[in-house]
């Protein structure tokens, strides 16, 4: 008998994440650091392995270098498998044509062979844009029980934000009778999470048809789902009520990091029953010095803290020297905040040096937005970066 996998996951990781500005200058959005030791893609990958799905295709396109290196052979997620495991799927040159991925549906369509190799009954479509813990196995059970052709994970959002999402209008049993992509006047607040389970044969059929349609944008939300609904395919929603956050903007990325803080956090990454796996830094425990004050913060391995850290998330090997203050901020790996410098209400990318006495950002609540420093830059001693500024080059003052 031919070996097969019941369900194969396809993770759309090609997003540029342009609203993260300097943070995605050189890396794809799913590779953006989150929560002191994670990257966004750790969440869907961990969800997969925790749900028993051990075959994942990761579709990359924009700046894939760092993402490819991070995923490697998939071992940190236990996804290094003899049959299955995680595979990076990049656009490639085929015999007849070669092209970039043109839309979400086209990206999956171009990788039909990958899916078919595993002869799956179901295909799970994911994106690498969200922070959440979700049991895809429970969703798959629902998909099988309802006998649906497509099941869409859905979450209730505040009505005033509903027009930013794909909105599902459903009957009481969860069956979808209408799908509206970013409607001006939404009829419900049940939003699509961009997580779909398809019965494989149906997916292949609609992908092929859509690819032949010259007017299609080759997008799941805009084309595939409406076409399936119009053709009378059985489509169900799967309600999800846990934490789910799109970290596609500077402010949502900041907020989501802050949601990790405290003894009873809004979002818990230390849940032993649903471990978030990641590539681990090779570093000793963090050191907190004699004069340090560390409060309401999350700190990763290898940090050296002699200054003050409040309401902040510090990734591995961050140095906060004596007299320096880091407050209401997200600091990524390897950044150094020198003596007497201060970083307030900011997101600072990897390997930034904030020289002595420099001041980055303005107090939260002052009206100014979140300051952002891109990776590998130096903020000169004594200079000042105003709140809400985005800086991605060395700064020596105006």
């Amino acid at each position: 008998m031919r070996r097969k996998k019941e369900c194969v996951a396809m993770l759309l990781a090609g997003g540029q994440g342009s609203r993260l500005y300097a943070l995605t200058n050189n890396i794809a959005k799913p590779a953006v650091a989150f929560g002191a030791k994670y990257r966004i893609i750790d969440f869907p990958l961990s969800n997969c392995i925790n749900s028993g799905i051990d075959t994942v295709g990761v579709l990359t396109q924009y700046e894939p270098l760092e993402l490819n290196e991070y995923i490697g052979n998939g071992q940190p997620w236990d996804l290094d498998r003899a049959f299955g495991g995680v595979h990076i799927l990049s656009p490639y040159q085929a015999k007849k044509k070669s092209s970039w991925f043109e839309g979400t549906a086209n990206a999956i369509y171009q990788n039909m062979h990958f899916m078919q190799k595993y002869n799956p009954d179901y295909v799970l479509i994911l994106s690498g844009d969200h922070i959440y813990k979700m049991d895809y196995a429970a969703m798959l059970r629902t998909h099988k029980e309802t006998g649906a052709d497509c099941t869409i994970a859905a979450i209730e959002v505040p009505m005033k934000e509903a027009s930013r999402f794909g909105i599902l209008n459903t009957r009481e049993n969860g069956e979808i009778y209408e799908f509206e992509e970013k409607p001006k006047q939404p009829k419900s607040n049940l939003a699509s999470m961009g997580i779909y389970i398809f019965t494989a044969a149906k997916l292949y059929k609609y992908l092929a048809e859509d690819d032949a349609d010259p007017n299609s944008e080759k997008d799941f939300g805009k084309n595939i789902l409406p076409k399936m609904l119009a053709a009378g395919e059985k489509m169900y929603s799967y309600r999800f009520s846990g934490y789910w956050k799109d970290v596609g903007t500077i402010s949502s990325l900041w907020e989501s990091n802050m949601d990790l803080l405290g003894s009873n956090p809004v979002f818990d990454v230390s849940d032993a029953d649903w471990k978030i796996h990641s590539r681990n830094p090779l570093a000793p425990p963090e050191y907190v010095g004699d004069k340090a004050i560390v409060q309401n913060s999350m700190v990763a391995l290898g940090c050296e803290i002699e200054g003050t850290v409040q309401n902040s998330v510090l990734a591995s090997n961050v140095v906060v020297e004596e007299g320096a203050v880091v407050k209401d901020s997200v600091i990524m790996a390897g950044t150094v905040v020198k003596a007497g410098a201060q970083v307030v209400y900011s997101i600072v990318d990897e390997n930034v040096t904030v020289e002595s006495g420099a001041s980055v950002g303005e107090e939260k609540g002052s009206g100014a937005g979140i300051a952002v420093l891109g990776r590998d830059i130096v903020i000169a001693a004594g200079t000042k970066i105003a709140g809400g500024k985005i800086v991605d080059k060395d700064y020596k003052g105006d």
Binding site: S278, V288, Q295
Partner: protein, 369 residues
């Protein structure tokens, strides 16, 4: 250039040094420095010096060691040829497991015969150091030595424990004392030596035919004239875990930036990955001069401490000068001073425990107080 060498690590030999901590485990798997085990230092030194095959000689209580090492992938030692190779007791003559280093070496000659590397690097697990083994092998070649033993100059030795070396001006060892009663400056053998693989196999064979039983007494000390035994002085930071008191004192040295920088500055000491979440400090937490590992939750006060992975310190608790091992839970209002807790200890509300640096109060694995 990387030398062609295979590693051999003795995991059990000094188990009696810290009997409290080795009751349920080998010397090699004793927790150290917040997230390491003693063997991590020897293993990392070997890996970082280009050695990709390491035989680990075990004797008893090595379940925790197997659990720690896994496939060896966390040390980049999950290899098709070589990698980590566990060498449990092997005996073709008697049922008793080995009693000495020489007998243990005899038991691994099969392993040594199957390898084709030029040198053998032999290490115990009682030393904390970051050393470049290529330097030692280069020295060994330059001297044309049969055996090179590594030593560290100790300023004020007080113990009568271990082996001391007397090197002459050229570095050749002219005297070896085993368990001498010497105080003051000594050249302490750090239980690390190199020699060619063939040479080792030959001296083991020779020792077997002559019925020798001690590597130190019968092979090293008796052959100082005939064998070219050289000493290599390691001048970096070295800590010998020779007793519970030393375990405590040397652990606390990690709070010194210079020591930390030397051992971990290059970020190349490997250990088992546990996928713990980053540590969290809540509002009201006070942490001073301490090392905190991943997965910790600090709600109380922690001063001059080493907290291993997954430790919880509850509200109102004050923990000072202590070493708190993996997954220990300290509830509320607890006061600890100079305490070492082994893994998975629970200290209930408002307990008050204290030892002193010379005699830290030890709480065994899994105890609930």
């Amino acid at each position: 250039m990387a030398y062609s060498a295979v590693g051999v690590i003795f995991s059990n030999i000094h188990d009696d040094n810290v009997s409290e901590l080795s009751r349920h485990r080998t010397m090699a798997s004793i927790p150290y420095g917040g997230r390491y085990r003693l063997i991590d230092f020897a293993l990392s030194n070997m890996v970082n010096s280009g050695i990709d095959t390491v035989g680990i000689v075990t004797k008893n209580n090595y379940q925790s060691l197997i659990d720690h090492l896994g496939s060896g992938k966390d040390w980049d030692l999950a290899r098709k040829d070589g990698g980590i190779i566990l060498l449990p007791p092997y005996s073709d003559e008697t049922d008793a497991p080995y009693k000495s280093r020489l007998e243990a070496l005899k038991g691994v000659t099969g392993f040594l015969n199957r390898r084709n590397e030029q040198y053998v690097v032999i290490s115990d697990c009682d030393g904390i150091a970051r050393m470049d083994i290529s330097d030692i092998l280069r020295y060994h070649e330059e001297k044309g030595a049969d055996i090179t033993m590594v030593y560290h100059r100790e300023k004020d030795a007080e113990s009568s424990y271990y082996m001391t070396l007397s090197p002459d001006k050229t570095g050749r060892i002219t005297g070896i004392k085993i368990n001498p009663r010497i105080e003051g400056e000594i050249d302490l053998y750090v239980n690390f030596m190199v020699m060619s693989r063939e040479f080792l196999i030959n001296i083991i064979q020779d020792a077997v035919t002559r019925g020798y039983s001690s590597f130190g007494r019968d092979i090293l000390t008796k052959n100082l004239d005939t064998l070219k035994i050289y000493g290599y002085e390691f001048t970096g930071y070295y800590a010998c875990i020779s007793s519970m008191q030393k375990y405590y004192l040397h652990s606390m040295e990690l709070l010194d930036r210079k020591v930390r920088e030397e051992l971990f500055g290059a970020r190349d000491i490997y250990t088992k990955v546990r996928d713990s979440a980053p540590s969290k400090y809540v509002e009201g937490a006070v942490v001073k001069n301490s090392l905190i590992s991943d997965g910790c939750l600090v709600e109380g006060t922690v001063e001059n401490c080493i907290l291993f992975r997954g430790v919880k310190v509850g509200k109102g608790s004050v923990v000072r000068n202590s070493i708190i091992m993996q997954d220990t839970v300290i509830e509320s209002g607890v006061r600890l001073d100079c305490v070492i807790t082994d893994k998975n200890v629970v200290i209930r509300d408002r307990r008050n425990l204290a030892g002193c640096p010379a005699l830290p109060y030890f709480i065994g694995k899994g105890r609930m107080l």
